[in-house]
């Protein structure tokens, strides 16, 4: 008789984030839980982020801002994991999977200007290596001598979550013992705003208030979120502090419309179900949901339907909040930043609220954690279990099941 294949468990040993709330994973969750909003003038910029504070002149000028953000967030995660200068494993067995929805948009635009104004011969040789969407993965791998598989992942607003799922499978399958993974995005250019505006995707009021009746679009932000994932046995053997576990991953595709979510929430609900099943869990064991919650009329309605389909009666019980209410929508970084925020939720036992949620939409009748932060309550005495959702233009759906470390 054959049993189910033994899958390696995968734990989180380090997290890092640079967001409109500042640099730091702890800062992100603490400030969000305190009710702080990092959005100003309708955008979630990392206003205090100056690459000179973190990188050499050479590094900074060779990286587009999205990759600069990635390198700094990865540095925080790797430091927390206690990787002292080099990975604690054979470098050929340490991977690096870093997502971006767009890549180095500002670099691309700047070099296009150079070509138009000064001619093709004056275009920088750094153009391609800076705007390629895998530039962040390359920069982090090079900086930390990670010599296993490394690549970028591109699936718009689901990119960051796909990167974590890919990293999870890489370790589970035995192709790597550890992976630095996450997402980074910085597309805060006039051109990007114009493009999203012409789709009518952005909030004309510049307010991110997911699930509220008055929601009118998302607020674009920039930033990066990174996680160090390790094979659980190896991490324990080296005495690493375990922050949590990537317990499950589910991903589906709407195959419905380029930008609009499938309105029944069916394919998205399957992603959630797959993640829960992948974690060996049931809906009744879920303690918290970090929603995709973009503040667009369509997403928040479709996500609510997906949650109800996937969770049944438990959908009404489980607290649901959206990080985007505090920092806006970080596009290809969102899934990773929100996974980081969810890990902090599991560590601290504090559920941050959906900020700005005041006027309920009669169609959306779940518990979106209005008002203030509240304690994370685990019913069964087991480590807490959370779901983090990411849904994207292109119809890409990802759900991650994240479990707290045993206490």
């Amino acid at each position: 008789m054959t049993s189910a294949p033994d899958r390696r468990r995968v734990v989180v040993t380090g997290i890092g984030a640079v967001t409109p709330l500042g640099a730091g994973a702890t800062l992100l969750h603490n400030r969000w839980a305190a009710g702080d909003v990092g959005i100003a003038d309708g955008a979630g910029r990392c206003r205090d982020f100056d690459p000179k504070d973190h990188l050499s002149v050479k590094e900074a000028r060779r990286l587009d801002r999205f990759a600069q953000l990635a390198v700094v967030a990865a540095g925080e995660a790797i430091a927390e994991a206690g990787w002292d200068g080099e990975p604690p494993y054979d470098p050929l067995r340490v991977g690096c999977v870093i997502a971006s929805g767009i890549g180095g948009q500002a670099t691309l635009e700047a070099q296009l200007d150079v070509m138009r104004e000064r001619g093709a011969k004056m275009v920088s040789p750094l153009g391609i290596p800076m705007y390629m969407p895998n530039a962040a993965a390359a920069a982090v791998a090079m900086r930390y001598a990670l010599r296993g598989q490394s690549y970028g992942v591109v699936s718009a607003c689901a990119s960051g979550a796909h990167a974590i799922g890919s990293a999870l499978r890489m370790i589970q399958y035995g192709d790597a013992d550890a992976v630095v993974c996450g997402g980074a995005e910085s597309t805060m250019t006039d051109f990007s705003f114009a493009c999203f505006n012409s789709m009518q995707a952005l909030s004309p009021t510049g307010i991110s208030r997911p699930f509220d009746l008055r929601r009118d679009g998302f607020v674009m932000g920039e930033g990066a979120g990174m996680l160090v994932l390790e094979d659980a046995e190896a991490a324990v053997a080296r005495g690493a502090t375990i922050l949590g576990e990537v317990a499950g991953y589910g991903s589906t595709t709407d195959a419905h419309h380029l930008t609009a979510p499938e309105p029944t929430g069916g394919p998205a609900s399957r992603a959630i179900e797959l993640a829960i099943r992948d974690a060996g869990a049931e809906a009744s064991q879920i303690d918290y949901i970090n929603a995709h919650g973009t503040s667009t009329p369509l997403n928040d309605a479709a996500e609510t339907r997906a949650l109800k389909l996937a969770l049944g009666a438990d959908a009404k019980r489980i607290p649901i909040s959206s990080t985007k209410s505090s920092i806006g929508h970080l596009l290809g970084a969102a899934g990773a930043v929100e996974a980081v925020a969810t890990i902090r939720t599991l560590i601290t036992g504090v559920i941050a609220p959906t900020l700005g949620y005041e006027v309920p939409d009669p169609e959306l009748d779940l518990d979106y954690v209005p008002g203030e932060a509240r304690p994370l309550i685990t019913g069964n005495g087991h480590p807490p279990l959370a779901i983090s959702n990411s849904f994207a233009f292109g119809g890409h759906n990802v759900s991650l099941a994240l479990r707290g470390a045993p206490r």
């Binding site: 050499s56 002149v57 050479k58 000028r61 060779r62 000064r118 011969k121 004056m122 040789p125 750094l126």
Partner: protein, 81 residues
């Protein structure tokens, strides 16, 4: 177009310094390897030189260059010819 070695040196040092190395380290005898100046930096330097002095430096020209002084001498020579 005639330029002096000093003019070229000033421009080359300024350009290389903008790529990362400390300006005080950028002497004629310093090698590009020591300064951590790689092939991408040299292409950028060639663009500045072409823009400024109309001197076209190709990949094969750049490959032979080992020191800052080599680059300055080549640029002056080409600008004079």
């Amino acid at each position: 177009m005639s330029v002096t070695s000093e003019q070229v040196e000033t421009r080359v040092v300024e350009t290389l310094a903008s790529f990362g190395p400390d300006a005080s380290q950028i002497r004629r005898t310093a090698t590009f390897e020591e300064l951590d100046i790689d092939s991408l930096d040299l292409v950028e330097l060639a663009q500045v030189v072409e823009d400024e002095y109309g001197v076209v430096l190709k990949g094969e020209d750049m490959k032979e260059l080992k020191t800052v002084g080599d680059a300055i001498d080549l640029i002056v020579e080409r600008a004079d010819s």
